[in-house]
C-alpha cells in the first residue's frame, strides 16, 4: 500500500541545477512469464530508478493474444510474498547507491557499495534498436556478464536498475546465461518536467541495512521456502539432497562471497 501513499516530490540532486531531467522507461523481463516497468530519472549525474512491483499486463505488441494462464502454474520461481517497489537512487557524488528492498512484507533501505562497472566498449558490433544505432559493451557484474547496447545519440551515462556509466544511454541490456534478465528501453522523455515519484523522506525513515546483511537475511528466507517446498515433495528413490541456493536475480555472486 506504500506505493499509493508515496508523495510526489522533486529529486534535489546536486547544488547546481543546470541540466534538464531525462526520463527513460524500461521494460524489465526477469523471465518469459513476467514483465515489469522500470522508470529511470536522470539529472545532473544523479539517477533514480523506480521499478513497479506488479508485473505488467503484456502489451499488445508483444502478446499473441493469450491471457494469463489460470491453471498449470509453475513453481519454478518461488513466491516471495508481497513485493514492494524497487527504488534505486544513485547520487553523482556518492560511491554507494541506495536501494529499497522488501522482505517478508517489510521495506528496507539497503546501502550497496557497488564497485564501479568496468565496461569494455572495445567492440565493433553495431545494432539498430528502434531508430538508434547502438554499440555493444560488456562488463563483469556480480557473477554474470552484462551485455549492453548503448546509443551515442543520447549522451547520458544512464541505464536501468544499477547500471550506467556508458558513453550513451543504455537501450538494451541483459546478462549472459541460460536465464537472462532483459531490460529494453521503451520510452524517452526529455526534458521531463514532471516529478520523480519517490518520497525520499519516507525512504529515509526505513530501517537501514547494508546489502550484505540484507542478502543474508533474504537467503535465509529463500532457504526456508525451499525447505517448505522440499518437505512437501514426494519421496525420491534412494537419497535426499541438500539444496544449493540459486538466486533468481541478476546478481548471483556478491563481492563478500568470492573467496
Amino acid at each position: 500500500m506504500y506505493k499509493y501513499s508515496l508523495f510526489f516530490v522533486f529529486l534535489l540532486a546536486t547544488a547546481v541545477s543546470y541540466g534538464q531531467k531525462l526520463k527513460a522507461v524500461y521494460e524489465y523481463l526477469p523471465s518469459p512469464m513476467a514483465t515489469f516497468r522500470e522508470e529511470v530519472y536522470f539529472q545532473d549525474g544523479a539517477k533514480t530508478s523506480v521499478r513497479d512491483s506488479l508485473p505488467q499486463p503484456m502489451s499488445k505488441a508483444t502478446s499473441n493474444g493469450d491471457d494469463e494462464e489460470l491453471s498449470g502454474s509453475m513453481s519454478v520461481t518461488l513466491d516471495m510474498g508481497k513485493i514492494y517497489r524497487n527504488i534505486v537512487i544513485k547520487k553523482n557524488n556518492a560511491t554507494q547507491l541506495l536501494e529499497t528492498r522488501s522482505l517478508k512484507g517489510s521495506n528496507y533501505l539497503v546501502n550497496d557499495e557497488l564497485p564501479p562497472l568496468a565496461w569494455n566498449t572495445n567492440f565493433t558490433d553495431v545494432d539498430t534498436l528502434g531508430k538508434h544505432i547502438c554499440h555493444k559493451a560488456t562488463a563483469t557484474y556480480r557473477g554474470t556478464t552484462l551485455v549492453a547496447y548503448y546509443t551515442n545519440d543520447i549522451p547520458v551515462p544512464a541505464g536501468p536498475y544499477k547500471f550506467g556509466g556508458l558513453p550513451g544511454l543504455i537501450v538494451m541490456l541483459y546478462n549472459e546465461g541460460a536465464n537472462p534478465h532483459y531490460w529494453l528501453l521503451k520510452e524517452i522523455d526529455y526534458p521531463y518536467t514532471g516529478d520523480v515519484p519517490v518520497n525520499e523522506k519516507y525512504i529515509n525513515t526505513l530501517p537501514k541495512l547494508s546489502l550484505e546483511s540484507y542478502i543474508k537475511k533474504e537467503d535465509l528466507e529463500t532457504e526456508e521456502r525451499m525447505r517448505m517446498m522440499m518437505s512437501k515433495m514426494p519421496l525420491m528413490e534412494g537419497v535426499t539432497v541438500e539444496r544449493k541456493k540459486v538466486r533468481g536475480s541478476v546478481e548471483q555472486v556478491y563481492e563478500w562471497e568470492k573467496n
Binding site: 547546481v16 543546470y18 518461488l78 536465464n179 524517452i188 517446498m229 537419497v239
Partner: protein
C-alpha cells in the same frame, strides 16, 4: 565526477592501452561552460582523427570540469556532446603532457526527445511460454542421469516410476535439441542419459505437439527440451552400469546406453538386462500407443483389441519389484535424421525378450446365504514375453504453415505363460499363448490459416490381431459339462480389429484469449471375436472326439459406423474461464452373432461445462459438469460364454445399448508448494443412469458371470490433502482424508438382485523433515477401510501401512538411506491379521572425478518371503499370498562417459 571514479577510469584506460604502454601519457582537461555557466553532464570523447575510433570518454562534473588521458599520440578529435547543447568537435594534436582545453558550448542540439522505441527483436516474443533453466545452477555433482537432475529442480516432480510432473501435470515428452525420441516413454531417455552434455533445460509451457497449433491450441500441456553444450554435439556419449550380488542369491542389473546428438542426426542405442525385479521395459507401452488423445485433430488414439485373459498380479500401493521374479532384456535402436530442414525421419526399433515369474496362493471365501464355499488356488506363473516393435515417423513441412506427418508402427507382441496350479487341491497345468500383431498408420495434415486459426485433419488405419490359445490339462467342470471323462480344456480366441477413421478440426483462438474448436469425424470399426471351448476326450472315453459346447462358442462381429460433431468454446477473463462443450454423434451399429444380425442406429448427445476461477490471491476453484452417452463396447456384447482363466466364464449382453451418465466435480486449491499452508480439496459425484452390472452363478469350481444392463449407480467422493510446515519441527506435516461411496446392484443366481453400498475411508498422516543437518527423515501412517453393505450385512476390511525412511548424508559424496515399511492387512474371520516388515538399505559413494558412482544395496533385510493381501468384493472375500524376492546384497558401479 568523484576522485575514485576518475582514478578508476584512468586505471581502465591504462589497462586498455597496455600494449603500447611505455609511451608518454597525455592528459587533456579543462572546463565546459555555456553562456558563462559551467556545464555538467557533457560527454567528452577522444577519438583518433584517422578512423574516428573512440579512445576514451568521460562526462563533465557539476562544475563543468573534465579530464581525459591517453598514451596515444598523433591527431585526435575531441568531441563534446550533451543534450541541450550544440555538439562541438575539435581537432587537436596535443604535444604537451598536460593539455588544457576549455570550451564554450552553445545551447541547441537535442532540445526535445519524446520517443517510443519499438524493439524489432523482442526476447521471448515467440518463446513466452519457455522457461529456461541453466543446468549448472542445479547440478550438485551427484547426478548420473537426467532424472536425478530433474529431481533437484523446484517445481519438477519425478515419481518412483520415473514419471515427470511439472506441478501436477505430467510432461508430454522430453526432447533433445527439439527432437523427440520416446514421447511419453521418455523414461528411457531420462533414466539413461548422463547429465554431462546438458547445458540448459527448457520447460515448454502450453506446449503443442503439433507445431502449427502453437499459440492457438488451448493447451495446458508441458514438455521438456534438453539443450546440449556446444562441445558435446556430434560426440558419442553414454553410460554403463553394473550391479550384482557377490554372495547369496544371484541378482544383477546391467545397462549400457550410447548416444550421439548432432544438429542433423541423432542416434540412441540402449541395451539393458536385469533379474532383480525391475521392469526395464515399463515404458514400452507408451511407444506402442503413441500420441496424445486430447489434441485437436487426432483420431483413433485409444483403439485396440480388448485384453481377455490377464494374469498380471494387481498390488496397489506395493512395490511390484518385490514380487517380480524376472529376467528382463531390452535392446533398442533409435535414430532421427533431418536430411533437410523441412524433412525429418524418425525410426524406433525395440526387441524385448523377457521372462517373468510370480507365485501366488489365493483363498477365496463365498458366504452368501446358502451359497457357502471356499476355494483355494496355488499358482506358479512363468511368462515368456517376446515383443518386437518398430515405428517410422516422417515429418514434412512444405511451407512454414503446413505440416504433413506420417506415423507407421508395426509390432509383434508374443507371450507364453505357463501356470502350475493347485486348484481346490487338484493339480493342473495352465498355458496361455498370445501371439499379437499390430499395425497402425496415421497421416496428419496441419495447416495454419493465420496466427490464430488452424485446420488439422487426420486419417488413421489400424489392423490388430490378438489371438489367444488357452489350455488347462484338468477337467474341473463336471457340474457344467457333465461327468464324462475329459483330459483337458482348451480355448482358442480370435480377437481382431480393423479401424479406419478420418477427422477434420478447425481451431481458432481470438485476441482476447477466447478459444473455439469445431470438429467433424467419421469412423468405421470392425471387431471380430471368435472363441471356442474344446473339451478334450479322456483316455477312458470310447469315442475319441473333441466336444465343443455350443453355449461356449462365439463367432461375433461388431461393425460400427460413427459420425461425430464436436464443438467447444472457451471464454477467458483475467481470473476466470468457462468452457461449454457439445458432442453430437450418429452411430450405426451392427452386431452379428453367427448368422443372426442385430442393428441399432442411434443419436448420442454429450454436453459438458468446465470452469476455472481464481477466487483470491492464493485460492483457485475448478469445476466440471457433464452428461455423456456412449454405446456398449465389444466386451459387453459377447453373446456366449468364454473363459478368462481357471474359474471364470463370462458372457455379455448380446444387445447393443446406449449408456447415459452425468457427473460433477469441484476442486479447490489453496496456496502452492512453497507456502507454509498448502491444501487441495476435491469433491465429486457421478450418476450412471445405465451401467453394465453382473449376474454371477457361483459354484466351487467355476463361476458363470453374465453381464446385465442395470440402472442408477451413484458414486460420490471427497478428498482433502492438507499440508502445514511446522516451524518448530522444521518439517511438513501432511494430513490426507478421503471418502468414497458407491451405490449399485448386482445379481447372484439363487439370490436375485442385491442392493450394494461400498464405502471407503482413507486417512493418512505423514511428516517429512527438512533439517539443515546431515540427517533427515520421512515417516507416515495410513489407514484404509473398505466396507460392503448388502442385505443389511456389512463386511469390513481395514488395512494399515506405516513407513519410516531415514537419510544420512556425509558431504556430497557419501549418502546412506534406510527405507522401512510395514503393512498390516485385515484378514478373513478365522485368520489372524498379520504385519509384514520390509527394510531396504543403500549406500552411495560418488567418485565425481571419475564420473563413477558405487553403491551397495541390501534388499529385504528381514528376508520376508511371502506377503498376504486381503481383498473384499461384493460377492467374496479373499486373501492372496505372494512369494517375494529374498534378501540379497548387491554391489554396483555406474560409469558415465
Amino acid at each position: 565526477m568523484s576522485g575514485k571514479k576518475i582514478k578508476h577510469r584512468i586505471g581502465w584506460l591504462v589497462l586498455c592501452l597496455l600494449p603500447i604502454f611505455g609511451q608518454a601519457q597525455v592528459a587533456i582537461h579543462g572546463k565546459v561552460s555555456a553562456e558563462g555557466e559551467p556545464l555538467g553532464g557533457v560527454r567528452i570523447d577522444l577519438r583518433f582523427a584517422a578512423d574516428s575510433r573512440m579512445l576514451t570518454y568521460t562526462f563533465s562534473d557539476g562544475q563543468g570540469n573534465y579530464r581525459l588521458q591517453t598514451t596515444q599520440s598523433g591527431k585526435f578529435i575531441l568531441q563534446f556532446k550533451s543534450l541541450g547543447a550544440e555538439p562541438l568537435s575539435l581537432t587537436i594534436a596535443p604535444a604537451q603532457a598536460d593539455t588544457l582545453i576549455d570550451v564554450q558550448m552553445r545551447p541547441g542540439g537535442v532540445q526535445r526527445l519524446q520517443e517510443v522505441i519499438v524493439h524489432a527483436k523482442q526476447p521471448y516474443r515467440n518463446g513466452r511460454d519457455t522457461i529456461e533453466l541453466a543446468v549448472n545452477s542445479f547440478l550438485q555433482g551427484d547426478e548420473r542421469n537426467v532424472e536425478d537432475l530433474l529431481r533437484k529442480i523446484p517445481g519438477i516432480n519425478v515419481g518412483t516410476d520415473g514419471s515427470i510432473k511439472i506441478g501436477n501435470k505430467e510432461v508430454e515428452k522430453v526432447m533433445v535439441e527439439g527432437d523427440d525420441f520416446f514421447e511419453k516413454g521418455y523414461r528411457l531417455l531420462t533414466q539413461n542419459m548422463s547429465v554431462q552434455p546438458l547445458e540448459k533445460i527448457q520447460v515448454l509451457q502450453r506446449y503443442s505437439n503439433n507445431k502449427q497449433l502453437k499459440g492457438i491450441e488451448n493447451s495446458d500441456k508441458v514438455a521438456l527440451n534438453l539443450q546440449l553444450k556446444a562441445d558435446s554435439k556430434n560426440q558419442w556419449l553414454g553410460s554403463v552400469g553394473l550391479q550384482g550380488s557377490p554372495i547369496g542369491p544371484k541378482y544383477y542389473q546391467a545397462s549400457a546406453n550410447l548416444m550421439n546428438f548432432g544438429k542433423r542426426n541423432k542416434y540412441y542405442l540402449l541395451a539393458s538386462a536385469n533379474n532383480n525385479g525391475y521392469d526395464a521395459v515399463s515404458s514400452i507401452n507408451y511407444l506402442i500407443q503413441s500420441g496424445s488423445a486430447n489434441e485437436p485433430g487426432q483420431i483413433g488414439m485409444d483403439i485396440s483389441t480388448p485384453t481377455l485373459i490377464d494374469n498380471t498380479p494387481n498390488l496397489p500401493n506395493f512395490d511390484y519389484r518385490r514380487t517380480n521374479f524376472n529376467n528382463d532384456k531390452l535392446i533398442s535402436l533409435n535414430t532421427i535424421l533431418n536430411p533437410t530442414s523441412a524433412f525429418k525421419i524418425k525410426w524406433i526399433g525395440f526387441a524385448n525378450p523377457t521372462k517373468k515369474s510370480f507365485y501366488r496362493n489365493t483363498v477365496q471365501e463365498y458366504n452368501l446365504e446358502d451359497i457357502q464355499f471356499t476355494i483355494t488356488e496355488d499358482y506358479a506363473f512363468a511368462r515368456k514375453i517376446d515383443n518386437y516393435f518398430t515405428k517410422l515417423e516422417l515429418q514434412y513441412e512444405p511451407s512454414p504453415h503446413t505440416t504433413l506427418n506420417y506415423t507407421g508402427t508395426l509390432g509383434s507382441l508374443n507371450s507364453n505363460e505357463l501356470g502350475t496350479l493347485l486348484f481346490n487341491n487338484i493339480t493342473s497345468l495352465e498355458t496361455t499363448k498370445n501371439k499379437g500383431y499390430l499395425t497402425n498408420h496415421n497421416l496428419t495434415y496441419s495447416y495454419k490459416l493465420s496466427e490464430r486459426k488452424a485446420l488439422v485433419s487426420s486419417i488413421r488405419f489400424i489392423n490388430q490381431q490378438s489371438p489367444v490359445d488357452y489350455s488347462i490339462n484338468q477337467y474341473y467342470y463336471q457340474d457344467l459339462f457333465g461327468p464324462d471323462s475329459v483330459s483337458g480344456v482348451q480355448q482358442h480366441i480370435d480377437n481382431n480389429l480393423r479401424y479406419l477413421g478420418a477427422t477434420t478440426h478447425y481451431i481458432s483462438r481470438q485476441q482476447n484469449g477466447n478459444f473455439f474448436e469445431l470438429g467433424l469425424s467419421s469412423t468405421y470399426q470392425q471387431q471380430k471375436l471368435n472363441t471356442q471351448l474344446r473339451l478334450l476326450p479322456g483316455p477312458e472315453t470310447e469315442h475319441k472326439t473333441v466336444a465343443y459346447p455350443p453355449e461356449y462358442a462365439n463367432e461375433m462381429t461388431l461393425r460400427l459406423f460413427q459420425t461425430n460433431f464436436i464443438s467447444k468454446y472457451t471464454v477467458k477473463q483475467r481470473n476466470w474461464e468457462v468452457t461449454p462443450r457439445l458432442q453430437l454423434g450418429m452411430v450405426y451399429s451392427r452386431l452379428i452373432n453367427f448368422e443372426e444380425q442385430k442393428r441399432k442406429n442411434n443419436l448420442q448427445l454429450s454436453p459438458g461445462l468446465s470452469a476455472k476461477w481464481a477466487i483470491h490471491y492464493k485460492g483457485r476453484l475448478e469445476t466440471d459438469l457433464f452428461f455423456q452417452q456412449q454405446n456398449t463396447k465389444l466386451t459387453d456384447l459377447i453373446p456366449n460364454y468364454y473363459t478368462t482363466g481357471i474359474r471364470n466364464f463370462i458372457k455379455g449382453m448380446d444387445n447393443i445399448a446406449t449408456l447415459s451418465s452425468s457427473g460433477a466435480t469441484l476442486l479447490y486449491t489453496y496456496g502452492n508448494m512453497s507456502d507454509r499452508f498448502f491444501a487441495n480439496i476435491q469433491i465429486g459425484n457421478q450418476i450412471l443412469f445405465d451401467y453394465i452390472g453382473t449376474e454371477n452363478d457361483l459354484h466351487p469350481n467355476f463361476n458363470l458371470m453374465q453381464q446385465r444392463l442395470l440402472q442408477d449407480k451413484t458414486l460420490c467422493y471427497a478428498k482433502a490433502e492438507l499440508n502445514y510446515f511446522v516451524k518448530s519441527l522444521n518439517g511438513n506435516l501432511r494430513l490426507d482424508v478421503g471418502f468414497n461411496t458407491v451405490d449399485y446392484e448386482n445379481m447372484v443366481v439363487g439370490l436375485g438382485r442385491r442392493q450394494i453400498r461400498t464405502n471407503r475411508y482413507d486417512y493418512g498422516l505423514s511428516f517429512r523433515s527438512s533439517w539443515k543437518s546431515y540427517f533427515n527423515m520421512y515417516t507416515g501412517y495410513s489407514l484404509q477401510t473398505n466396507s460392503y453393505r448388502m442385505e443389511g450385512e456389512t463386511n469390513t476390511l481395514t488395512n494399515g501401512q506405516a513407513f519410516l525412511n531415514l537419510f544420512l548424508r556425509f558431504g556430497d559424496n557419501l549418502q546412506f538411506s534406510l527405507k522401512n515399511e510395514s503393512y498390516r492387512f485385515g484378514a478373513m474371520p478365522q485368520q489372524k491379521a498379520q504385519t509384514y516388515y520390509f527394510s531396504d538399505f543403500s549406500v552411495f559413494y560418488d567418485l565425481k572425478k571419475y564420473k563413477t558412482r558405487f553403491d551397495i544395496t541390501a534388499k529385504n533385510i528381514f528376508n520376508t518371503r511371502s506377503f498376504r493381501n486381503a481383498l473384499l468384493t461384493d460377492i467374496s472375500r479373499s486373501t492372496t499370498e505372494y512369494r517375494l524376492l529374498p534378501r540379497y546384497i548387491s554391489v554396483g558401479i555406474d560409469y558415465n562417459f
